[in-house]
Homo-oligomer: 333 residues x 2
Amino acid sequence: MLNVTKPCRITGTGMHLPSSVSSEKIEAEHGLPAGWSLKHSGVRSRHWVSSDTVASLGGKAAQAALEDAGIDLIDIDVLITAGGTSDQHIPSQAALTLGQMRDGNKARCQAFHVDATCLSFISAFRLAADMLQDPEVKRILVVASEVASVGIGPSNWETLTLFGDGAGAVVLEESDDPQVGLVKHQHKLYTEGLRAAEIPGGCVAKWVEDYAFSPKLHHFQMDGRELLRLTLKHIPAFMKDFFASTQSKWSDVSWTVPHQASKTGLGVIPKIARVNPEKVVNILENTGNCISASIPMALHHLTKSEGVEKGDSVLFIGTSAGYAIGALLYQHG
Amino acid sequence: MLNVTKPCRITGTGMHLPSSVSSEKIEAEHGLPAGWSLKHSGVRSRHWVSSDTVASLGGKAAQAALEDAGIDLIDIDVLITAGGTSDQHIPSQAALTLGQMRDGNKARCQAFHVDATCLSFISAFRLAADMLQDPEVKRILVVASEVASVGIGPSNWETLTLFGDGAGAVVLEESDDPQVGLVKHQHKLYTEGLRAAEIPGGCVAKWVEDYAFSPKLHHFQMDGRELLRLTLKHIPAFMKDFFASTQSKWSDVSWTVPHQASKTGLGVIPKIARVNPEKVVNILENTGNCISASIPMALHHLTKSEGVEKGDSVLFIGTSAGYAIGALLYQHG
């Protein structure tokens, strides 16, 4: 068994997806060669919103997680929404998501939004584990919801076919079992990669009153090769540091639940980690990259398919715009 | 002395403001009666950016706080940026602010952004206090930076004259003195006020590709009367709850550092709290409402003018879009 530093327990997971959009449909509409999406992005279908919002997707995933945990919204002490996309500049996404939930008007929880782009869920999970050490905090709802589809354009085939919308949610509760909870979390930001993935316009730096819509400013710009270079450069030392203090190694981990960043990114993990690919959860083909929602969606998929057993360890790992790497090791019970 | 639940210590504060803009100038340019701003909004001058961004203001305030604490960026384990405004949708403000700081490229800290609009600093402070209970986390830099000026329009005289830009930062460190640190934090969200303060457009719900700039969508909409009604309705019970578990009362607090929400909002506090108005920090007249940056700016003003002594208690309190109320009591040492 691993040494748990912050006891807490995952008691429920949930997810919600809008309607699926096939790669065939995108390829036909935008003049891509048939089969390009699956071959290059590894995505057969993803889900894109028509009328849903970050709040409505997140609210549905959150409701599913509450039901899975057998509790109601009123039982929640803290709501953390996590993500790189949001519905409005003001108010915060946490308020908007709570406003979409059943009995949201009866909730009196603390609520705030955490943004570390693709690593938002991992950062929120770690904060939840910290907060659950406070005797006044018993149950936390973490909701990662993302609508990527509005900010992608047809000129970049990789982003067009790779990104999907979706939401995943987790209920975390206090635990009196010292062997259940967070083992280790680590997050490092390397500003050399600050411009490798960005949406330059739309906020204060290039405000909409001065900068009208243009694909270059408002569509997601991603240098996939540079992101891969940064990952290959930094992840070995990062993971060595990570496991050094846990007295374990990656191949001891029961399940790796990675950010569904890209086909190449996911393909690299079993090689770096020297783990059995069957122990690395991969849902990319049917959901695409859903930014920070990918990890809780993959966790939900794992718990409902293979199942996470008492004593299993789960490693959440990903990279984000910024550029950053994050990893969190959790032991279940 | 109060009972500290999470030992930690403020070791440095800093702030940064762009150029000041007088009320006379605004009144002359937009046809307001002379003296309207000071009379109705309580603001004589505020500061508006010309070329600065959320990141550049925040980076300068952060650097000042590091110098005040006598440490370097490399000593920081966690950077939390806090605020309702940000420079870009992607990457997160934490990455952008770190990218603007001296030696940002050498930092290897965890970095994420927290948004609870005007309560973002209080929420970030509480998270920092939680994280500082982890023996691996020794120093946290909290930076609240806001550029409100881009999202206000001339048609609403109240928002036009009330809001300013600015940044405040605090260094929080671990403490082995059990009488120094966070006494109590409480935050409640009341969704009945979800639409009382908002910017409806600009993000996923009304994306710029479909909704071009319009004052109604992209200028800050605020129903000041409704916000005051919600505050008067909810704050008495909220504060009664808050002080019930601290075995103290508001009038025992050494300093109240409120969000500089509005002239009326600040005027109400000494009456509700029954505290000496001289013990309530008020910088509204010369900075306006700087969203979440108001509180750390007011704290910095207090530490550099009156000074916060060993054993002093400081109450941070505010309201936010959402609608939410937040309060945090800290005992200094």
